[in-house]
Every structure is written in structure tokens, then in C-alpha cells.
């Protein structure tokens, strides 16, 4: 049936016309859709395209170094090598992990776990396989760069504390910012960034951190960098100079190697902290790497709590050290220095017998300080009442934080009748005043508070400076300096002769036969001090104190300053379960004073060889397994 020219073409032409209408409608619709996306919403898509191809990565600023007052390096940074796995660059992640495991001897399980943690995330985000490669390992990995392009070594900086455990509590350490820290430092700290935790690192985070830079580069769809677009260099952090004297710090640290306790050395005139040691300590370098579970267990499993800064976070009864301030209360409340008491070895008040550690006969105030006679102070305390004692204590800064530039300082407790009513909900018993007069009872002070209070005794004008570690912050590039600005200094008002009387008593403690620290005097230092021994168990039970389990033995205090006139150093040493203030604490105090007043005269111990993997110094102090029932005086509240 050949085609015929006579066929009726009209239906076909009609269909062609309809097709034309339909086709051009579709065409117009498509043009409209492209108009919407390209013209109306083009800017939005352009932004998305930019985000697609650009990545901005912060460049961490070098953290500022920390130096001691003589310019000795305490904290610096060293390059650290991180091994990254780019999953997109390998066909077989498992094979890459096996290669790393054999090459570097890392457990395959741990590597798998690290990959597993990022499963489900974008695969162009690299997995951190190891963040502590040695130089040799870096070389080994890079020698295989061609066969294993998925493995990349990234160089970052790691904080190094040159002195290991020696300045642990003072410097603090670095750790990843917690959610709370991110919130309180919004805009200044990025998620995942390491910031100062505790110590100077935390207190001066903003000065030390510097300003991070920003690198913007073009990437392809595999996340590989194609070209750098922009680079904003980071500004390194300030170098911090502290008041601490590394030599004194080392001497104190060495002394505490087998002890638990703390030591503080101040310049009484300014409050500059020359040394601040708390034992046991931890190695802050441990936190610069990823802390392993075992390391963390070692630290928190230690019942001596190495993370605590005992110099300011633990408060204790001051014991006989307190007598210096009771003396101030007596002298300023009408009890003259010449007033005597007779000490037969005990005294009876309110029908109860209070013991003295010896029979001192007739003693006046300087003599009472010198031999640490309890009976004189029992009598003075009974006449003064607890509120007069409390007022004197507050004048010397007890019962409130000192204002030191370290966080988490404890205020301690200064008991008074008002305190008894409001906190204990019962009246103050006069018998308690007798205990408080010799530094026992509900009275709690920190070593740092005690050092500050002794500064007021050491200073002729009674100045009560704020202890501080910060000396100078210096900008690395511009050299601009931020110096410590002391707040208005409080003063302890001394009526004429009062300070001199107390100082005479404290001088005799060290320099006259019969003084409780006379055995530990160093000729020519002209030191003044006061010993203290804090009973951990009631005296009745403590007949043979040397046979007591260590945890129940007395705590030892020694507070001192030197020289007698124009004092240049105040030292407070506290040894937990150290028995006698004189024997356990005084030797270190004297050594620190001598080292400070006669530079070079005291051999400075070398720091423990290389940052020890162990977080705590080995100590005999943790051996008392039966030291359950925490001693009453170690209240942390």
C-alpha cells in the first residue's frame, strides 16, 4: 500500500501542532527551572560551591614558654609527629592498618579501634593512628610514601615540662578543653583544642595561648589540597616569667621525694612565690600526649592524691605555729609580754586536764614561744576568748583565700562563736577555746595562708602581700611586656613593741638553747620560726607515737622567715604524718632559707632523670594500708 498524496493529512497536521505546543511548553518549563536555580537562587548555590571547594584550617599558635625568675626554662614546646590515615586514598583500610602495625609495632586492635571511632563520618577526614611517632618512625613511614599515600605524618607541637614532676602543681598541664571550658571561653577556644588545666597554664591561658592563624585552601572532591588561597599566620603566645626560683623548687622537691606534704617559700616584701611544692606530684608531660588508661589509673588510684595541690587546696590544723598569732591577740588585747604562767606540764580548765609537752616552769611570752609552752597559751586563750583569737586570725588573712594566681584555693576555717552558731547550730564551748589557743580544734589553715601570715610578722610595716607566681609576660615579637600589678597591700596593725616581742620569741625558737628548732639553726642566718605538731589521734592513745601506723602519726609544721631584720624569705613546710615539726619540717625550711640568702651554698639536686613514665615519685608514704579512717585533721573542706 504505497503512500498516497491524496491521504487526509489533517489529523497528522493537528497532531504535529499539538506536539509543538507540548514540546515548547516543556522547553519553557525547563528554562524556568534553570532560571529559578541559576538566577533567583544563584548566590546561595555559589556559596555552597565555595564551601565545597574551600577548607579553612586553623594553624595553632606556639604556646608561650614559661621561665623561672632567673630565666631557666620550665615549659617549652617540641615537635611532635602524628600519623594520619586518609581512608579515601586506600582501597583496603585493613591492609593499611596491618602495614602500620608491622612497621611501627603498634597493636592492630588499637589501630582498628581508632578507625572504628570515625566510621560513619566523612571519609576525607583523616584518622589519627598515632600521635607520638619518634623521628625514626617518621622516617620509616615516609620511606613508604609511594606505596602508601594514605599514610601522612603531620607535625604539631607538644608541650614539654623540662623539670618533670618538680613543678607539677605550680605549672599545671594541658588538656583538651571540656564542654564547660568551651562555653566559658566562647570564641577564644576551639573544640578539641588543648588548653591549660590547673596551675599557671590554666591561670594565664589567654597570655600563653597566643592567637591561632588560619589557612584557607582549595580542595578537590577527594578532600585533597589543590592550592593554598590564603594564609593568616598565628601569633605566638607570651613568654611567661615566674617568680619561682628553680633551685629552691628543686631543693624542696628533692626533700619531699619520700614524704607527703607541701612547702611554700615567699618573698615577704612582695608576696613573690619563690617555691611551691606539693607531694606527691605527677608528671605533667603525661597529659601532653594522650593519657593512657594505665597512666590515669596510676594517678587517680594513688590514695595520696597526687593531683591535689596540698599547699593551697588542703587545709589542716596549724598546731603550735598558731601560737605566733595568739601572741598577737594577747599583746593587742591587754596581756603584756611580761605576764607569766607556771607550767607543771599540764593545766586544768573547766574541770578538764590539758597537757603540755613538757614541764616548763615559769614562762613569759617570748619564752613560751621559744619552748612552745602550751600552758601560757591555754591561759591567754581562756582570758581572750575565741572571738578575739578569731579576729587576730582574720587580720593575718586566715579564713579566706590569699588571692594567689592559682585556682581552687581553699579558705580554711577560723572558728568563732558566731561561726559555731551558724554552721554547727550549737553554742561555742569555752573548753574549745583552750584547744584553739594551741592551734587545734576546728581551726583549719593552708600552708600558703600560713606563709602569707608570717610575711606580716617578717615585714616591719606589717604588710600582708598577696602571694603570686606571675612576674612578667613578654610578647615574643614586639617585646611588649605585661608586668605583675600588685593590688593594694593589706597591713596587719602592730602597736609599738608588739611585732618586736613576737619576733623575739620566734628568734629564740631557732637561736637560743631550748628553742624547739635550735638543733636546726644555721649559723649567721638569723632565722626566726615556729614549729608545730598536729595530733592526728588523741594524745592519750599516742604514748608511743613512733609505733603508730604512719597515717596516724602527727603532722609536722615549720614556719620561718629570715633574716630577723629586713626579712627576704618566708618559708612554710608541712609534712603529713611527719611526727615533729622540728625534725621533719625545719631542716628543709633552713635549707631553703640558706639557699636563698647565700646563693650557691646549698647543693641543688639534679631533677629526676628524664620525665619518668611513672606519674608519682616512689614513696614509702603509701604503705600504710591500715590507714583507713581518714585522720580528722586532714579535712579537705
Amino acid at each position: 500500500m504505497p503512500a498516497s498524496a491524496r491521504e487526509d493529512r489533517r489529523p497528522l497536521l493537528r497532531r504535529i501542532d499539538r506536539l509543538a505546543v507540548a514540546s515548547f511548553s516543556v522547553l519553557a518549563l525547563l528554562v524556568g527551572i534553570y532560571w529559578v536555580h541559576q538566577v533567583l537562587r544563584g548566590d546561595d548555590y555559589a556559596r555552597q560551591a565555595e564551601n565545597n571547594r574551600q577548607r579553612s584550617v586553623p594553624i595553632n599558635a606556639s604556646r608561650g614558654f614559661i621561665l623561672d625568675r632567673n630565666g631557666k626554662l620550665l615549659a617549652e614546646n617540641e615537635p611532635s609527629f602524628t600519623l594520619l590515615l586518609y581512608r579515601r586514598e586506600t582501597r583496603d583500610v585493613e591492609a593499611s592498618l596491618r602495614f602500620v602495625s608491622t612497621l611501627l609495632g603498634r597493636p592492630l586492635e588499637e589501630l582498628r579501634r581508632r578507625v572504628e571511632r570515625l566510621r560513619g563520618g566523612y571519609d576525607f577526614v583523616p584518622v589519627v593512628l598515632d600521635d607520638d611517632l619518634s623521628i625514626a618512625e617518621v622516617g620509616a613511614v615516609e620511606a613508604h610514601a609511594l606505596e602508601h599515600p594514605e599514610l601522612v605524618v603531620q607535625t604539631t607541637e607538644r608541650r614539654v615540662y623540662t623539670q618533670g614532676t618538680v613543678l607539677a602543681h605550680l605549672l599545671g598541664y594541658l588538656g583538651e578543653a571540656s564542654p564547660e571550658q568551651l562555653a566559658s571561653r566562647a570564641g577564644r577556644v576551639r573544640s578539641g583544642e588543648s588548653i591549660g588545666q590547673r596551675g599557671i597554664e590554666a591561670a594565664y591561658q589567654d597570655l600563653l595561648a597566643g592567637t591561632s592563624g588560619l589557612r584557607t585552601f582549595v580542595i578537590d572532591s577527594f578532600g585533597r589540597e589543590v592550592a593554598e588561597l590564603d594564609r593568616l599566620d598565628p601569633l605566638p603566645g607570651n613568654t611567661l616569667v615566674l617568680n619561682v626560683d628553680l633551685d629552691l623548687q628543686r631543693i624542696a622537691d628533692d626533700y619531699f621525694r619520700d614524704k607527703v606534704g607541701s612547702a611554700v617559700a615567699l618573698d615577704p616584701r612582695t608576696g613573690e612565690i619563690l617555691a611551691l611544692v606539693s607531694a606527691p606530684a605527677f608528671d605533667p608531660n603525661v597529659f601532653s600526649r594522650r593519657v593512657t588508661r594505665a597512666e590515669w589509673q596510676t594517678i587517680i588510684g594513688n590514695e595520696d592524691r597526687p593531683m591535689q595541690n596540698r599547699a593551697l587546696q588542703n587545709v589542716y590544723s596549724p598546731g603550735s605555729v598558731w601560737k605566733a598569732f595568739v601572741a598577737y591577740a594577747a599583746l593587742t588585747n591587754g596581756i603584756p609580754a611580761s605576764e607569766t604562767a607556771f607550767c607543771p606540764g599540764f593545766a586544768t580548765f573547766y574541770g578538764r586536764r590539758f597537757r603540755c609537752h613538757g614541764a616548763h616552769g615559769t614562762v613569759d611570752l617570748p619564752r613560751a614561744l621559744q619552748v612552745s609552752c602550751d600552758v601560757w597559751f591555754y591561759n591567754a586563750g581562756r582570758r581572750l576568748g575565741v572571738d578575739a583569737l578569731a579576729e587576730a586570725a582574720r587580720t593575718f588573712g586566715f579564713g579566706r583565700p590569699t588571692g594567689v594566681d592559682l585556682a581552687s584555693e581553699k579558705a580554711g576555717n577560723v572558728p568563732s562563736s558566731a561561726w559555731s552558731q551558724s554552721v554547727r547550730k550549737h553554742p561555742w564551748y569555752p573548753g574549745e577555746t583552750i584547744s584553739v589557743a594551741i592551734g587545734q580544734g576546728p581551726l583549719l589553715v593552708s600552708a600558703l595562708q600560713t606563709a602569707r601570715a608570717f610575711s606580716a610578722l617578717a615585714n616591719e610595716d606589717g604588710a600582708l602581700p598577696v602571694p603570686h607566681l606571675f612576674r612578667i609576660g613578654e610578647h615574643v615579637r614586639s617585646g611588649a611586656r605585661v608586668a605583675y600589678r600588685p593590688p593594694v597591700t593589706e597591713r596587719v596593725p602592730f602597736p609599738p613593741g608588739v611585732r618586736e616581742t613576737i619576733v623575739e620569741g620566734l628568734w629564740r625558737v631557732v637561736n637560743q638553747p631550748g628553742g624547739t628548732a635550735y638543733r636546726y639553726r644555721v649559723e649567721g642566718l638569723d632565722a626566726c620560726g615556729k614549729t608545730g605538731t598536729v595530733q592526728v589521734v588523741a594524745q592519750k592513745q599516742a604514748k608511743m607515737t613512733h609505733q603508730l601506723p604512719e597515717k596516724l602519726r602527727d603532722h609536722a609544721w615549720f614556719a620561718a622567715f629570715a633574716p630577723r631584720d629586713d626579712a627576704k624569705i618566708v618559708v612554710v613546710v608541712f609534712v603529713e604524718n611527719g611526727m615533729h615539726g622540728s625534725s621533719a619540717a625545719a631542716p628543709l625550711a633552713m635549707r631553703l632559707i640558706e639557699a636563698h640568702l647565700r646563693p650557691g651554698s646549698v647543693p641543688v639536686p639534679e631533677p629526676p632523670a628524664a620525665p619518668a613514665p611513672e606519674a608519682t615519685p616512689p614513696g614509702g608514704t603509701t604503705t600504710a594500708a591500715n590507714g583507713a579512717g581518714a585522720p580528722a585533721t586532714r579535712t579537705g573542706a
Binding site: 498524496a5 497532531r15 541559576q38 571547594r53
Partner: protein
């Protein structure tokens, strides 16, 4: 429209030829832009060769009397099916499908594209022989059979995208031949059922594509990634585009198969809405001229031949353009004249040659 056609030169339909050449040139430019400096940098040169071959094929078919081809179409059709039967059994697997026959010099032929030409001719021949207002049942059965045969063979490869490009042939043939409304209703119903049933036949990746089409956010990094990146490429082109070889989405590899299936998105990114409008306008011109030639063809067979070719090109172009912007699911349909691919280019040009042949002979013997 006929008046416009009347005003054009008689021997060669210049506007249609111009549209085809301009589209091919735009395609070549985009293939070069998206591949130069990459491991696929040689594709631009190969595309130029394909175009040359395509134009030669078009010239051959334009000079040839299409009536001879129509008469020979049953034999041509059967011959073109032979490689399609051979492929699923013996063909080499390339990119997951047995769609290709390897030739000398690293070239490959896609028999499904060449079968397209024979199918067009046979469909036109069948329609020529049934000029009543409505098609007979026998003719309908013949049309369905002629399309179903190659489609079935191509699905065995499997190549869903190419198979789908045959569907417009059938719809257009039935429409142009004429069906009663109730027959249309029945066909639509049957077609819907077939589509529903096909869900159980589809491969998982094909289902994924349909799912992501229905909900692109479903898998922003999986199959939806392509759709999203293509749309970002298109949108970020703005009005004027980012410039030749400046498309970040395509140059940095965010855009998938950017020299082929998604070449239009690359064009939209680099040439902007203006470029999109020009290219779509060229398709419009090609379509308009095709319809004009069909109206003026001297016989029913010529009209049908031209209409089938032009509608096939237009439908493929519309589907690809819609797919690029995410209005249709990603199916692997290429953009005629523009996308990289030898068989597709040569087949499209050859069919365009058929249109030119009809146009040249429109007033002869009238």
C-alpha cells in the same frame, strides 16, 4: 510555522543544520573544558573525530533517498538486532554492562545506538502503511513489537538509560499514527502497571537512584550526592557563568560524569543561565525546524521519519536537562549532540541526516 518554513532555503534546511552544528560545537567545547588537564584529556580530540564521522554519516543519509531506506527498513532492522543478540552472551563487560563491541584503535561501538536508526526507519515504514485516522490493532502490535525487541535486548546488557531512550519512539509512533482515547487509557494503565512491576526487576543501585530522586536529602553523601553536587554546579553558575574551564564543581571533581551524563550541569556552571538559554534555544530551533519539515514532507513516511527522529532527540535532551537539575531521576541518558560518546553522536547525526534528506525532497513530485 509553515510560513517560517516556507521562507527558508529549499534545498538544505540551514536552520536545522545550524542548530545541530552549534549544539555539537558547544558539546565539544564542554568536553574539552571538563576533561583537559585530567587523565581524560584525550576525550576532546576523540569527540572532534566522532563529530566529523557524524557529519559524514549525516551527509550520506541526506543524499540518500530516504524512501529506499524505508523500503529496506525491515531488513536493516533485523540486521541491526544481530549484534544486540550477540552482546549479552559474548560481549565484553565494560563499566558493568555488555553494551560495547571493541573495534580497532581502542574505539568501541555501542550497537544499541546504531539499532536506533533502523528502528526509526522501520517505525516510519509501518506508519506509512497505515494511513487511516486511527491505527489498526495489527499496526499497534507491530509498533510495540518493533520497539520491545531492541529494548528487551538492551535491558539484558543491562543499559537502562539507552533502553529508556527507545520509549519516546513508541509513544510518538502511537500518537502520530492515532489511537482512540479508550485505547490510550488502556495503554496508560498497562504502562503504569509495568512501571510498578519493574520495581521488582530493578537493580539496587537503580532503586537507590529513584529513592534519592524522590528525596535527595536521604543520602547526601551516597547517590543523592551526585544530584546535590550537580544542582550546586548549575545554581552556582549564576547568570553569566564562571567562565570556560573555571567551573570549580566540575574541575575539582565534585560533579559526577561531567563530560557525559552531567555535561549540561558543567555547561550551566561555566556558561551560566545565558549559556543554558542558548543551548535550550538551539534544541528549540532544531525541534521547530523538524516539525516544519514533517509538515511539509511529501509523504506520510517522510513526515513520520522526521517526527520520530526530532521527538527522540527532543525527549532525550529534555530528560537529560531535567535529570541534571534533579527534576527527573538519574538514568544515564546522555545529552544528544553534546555529551561525549561516539556511537551516540554518530547515530544522532545520522538521524539528522535522514531529516535533511526528507527536507530536501519535500517538494519533489508534488
Amino acid at each position: 510555522m509553515s510560513r517560517l518554513a516556507d521562507a527558508l532555503p529549499r534545498r538544505v534546511d540551514v536552520p536545522l543544520l545550524f542548530a545541530a552544528l552549534a549544539l555539537s560545537a558547544a558539546g565539544l567545547a564542554m568536553v574539552v573544558s571538563t576533561t583537559s588537564g585530567t587523565p581524560r584529556g584525550s576525550l576532546g580530540g576523540r569527540q572532534a573525530l566522532f563529530l566529523l564521522a557524524g557529519v559524514v554519516a549525516a551527509a550520506f543519509f541526506a543524499l540518500f533517498d530516504y524512501r529506499l531506506l524505508l523500503r529496506a527498513s525491515p531488513a536493516l532492522f533485523l540486521a541491526s538486532l544481530l549484534p544486540l543478540v550477540w552482546l549479552p552472551v559474548f560481549g565484553p563487560t565494560i563499566a558493568g554492562a555488555k553494551s560495547w563491541i571493541r573495534l580497532f584503535g581502542g574505539f568501541q561501538v555501542q550497537p544499541s545506538e546504531l539499532a536506533r536508526i533502523a528502528t526509526v526507519l522501520l517505525l516510519a515504514w509501518i506508519l506509512e502503511n497505515d494511513d487511516r485516522p486511527y491505527l489498526s490493532t495489527r499496526t499497534v502490535a507491530a509498533l510495540v513489537g518493533v520497539v520491545a525487541l531492541p529494548v528487551g535486548l538492551i535491558l539484558l546488557q543491562p543499559d537502562l538509560g539507552v533502553a529508556l531512550t527507545y520509549v519516546p519512539f513508541l509513544v510518538a509512533a502511537l500518537y502520530l499514527g492515532g489511537l482512540r482515547p479508550r485505547v490510550w487509557a488502556g495503554l496508560v494503565l498497562a504502562g503504569s502497571l509495568a512501571v510498578g512491576a519493574s520495581w521488582f526487576v530493578l537493580k539496587d543501585y537503580q532503586k537507590d537512584r529513584i529513592r534519592t530522586f524522590l528525596d535527595p536529602d536521604l543520602a547526601a553523601r551516597g547517590a543523592g550526592y551526585q544530584v546535590r553536587q550537580a544542582r550546586i554546579a548549575i545554581g552556582s553558575g549564576g547568570i553569566a557563568g564562571k567562565g570556560w574551564k573555571e567551573g570549580t564543581q566540575s574541575r575539582l571533581g565534585f560533579l559526577p560524569v561531567r563530560h557525559s551524563d552531567f555535561i549540561f550541569a558543567a555547561l550551566a556552571e561555566e556558561r551560566g543561565f545565558l549559556g543554558v538559554a542558548v543551548v535550550l534555544g538551539l534544541y528549540g530551533l532544531y525541534l521547530a525546524r523538524g516539525l516544519g519539515v514533517a509538515r511539509d514532507a511529501r509523504d506520510r513516511g517522510g513526515s513520520m521519519l522526521v517526527l520520530l527522529v526530532v521527538l527522540n532527540v527532543a525527549a532525550q535532551a529534555a530528560a537529560n536537562v531535567a535529570m541534571n537539575v534533579g527534576v527527573l531521576p538519574t538514568t544515564g541518558i546522555t545529552l544528544p549532540f553534546v555529551s561525549y560518546g561516539g556511537s551516540s553522536i554518530i547515530a544522532t547525526w545520522a538521524m539528522t541526516g535522514l531529516v535533511l534528506s526528507v527536507a530536501q525532497r519535500r517538494f519533489v513530485n508534488v
